[in-house]
Symmetry: C2
Subunit: 135 residues, 2 copies
């Protein structure tokens, strides 16, 4: 699936139409930064996403060609979700959300050493390499 | 108002709790990037935000110390909204949303020359300087 026409010509409003809800970005965080791939793994997080919301957001993200859904090679009855190139291009947005949260919201922390966050480009390359075989 | 404790220790989830809805970021785009300051100006956009949503989001953004509300010096019966330091720190998130939208959503464009977007730090400095007298 290619690009879809935007309702607004503003790139911010258009991007927010795709990923501009809290849950989509939390799901993408789990897949891109926490290595989760399966529905069951995604359901199991501290934010306690509801099953219907998770199913809806996964379907939307697949429809927007941000996630790719495929059979789980370890269990053919299950599916795994992996990011497409468009999905990986959301990494800088996630990094900026991390940065703002760490600076401005008390009690937030990251599970990776802060030094790694300093070189966001290197971190992005590492994450992209992890998903390289997908497409 | 200082920082508020986070419900989740994840900086992404915490940031999204503050600005993780489409309209908050559209309002911030109008104030930070389009020079809008007044309720009436914010109401008047291509995305046609509803009055109750606009009022709610402005109140939330003020409560979170992202926007500062003050009397309009040109008309003391009105108010103007300007970004605080925390609000200005959202600029890199907006820039990344622009970048993703321009690359992946057909029909999007920016009202500034694309060359200016290439140097995001310089653009950020220019915008920060514009709001410098606020706090």
């Amino acid at each position: 699936m290619g690009m879809k026409p935007a309702r607004s010509s503003c790139p911010i409003a258009s991007t927010l139409e795709v990923i501009g809800d809290r849950w989509s970005l939390v799901v993408l965080r789990d897949i891109l930064l926490r290595g989760k791939r399966r529905y069951r793994e995604l359901l199991d997080g501290p934010e306690a996403i509801a099953t219907n919301i998770l199913a809806d957001r996964l379907a939307r993200l697949e429809e927007w060609d941000i996630l790719h859904k495929s059979r789980d090679p370890e269990d053919r009855r299950q599916f795994v979700y992996t990011p497409t190139g468009r999905g990986l291009d959301l990494l800088p947005i996630l990094f900026q959300l991390v940065r703002w949260g760490l600076k401005h919201v008390e009690g937030t922390e990251v599970p990776v050493p802060r030094a790694r966050l300093k070189d966001e480009r290197a971190l992005e390359r590492t994450i992209r390499a992890r998903f390289a075989p997908v497409r």
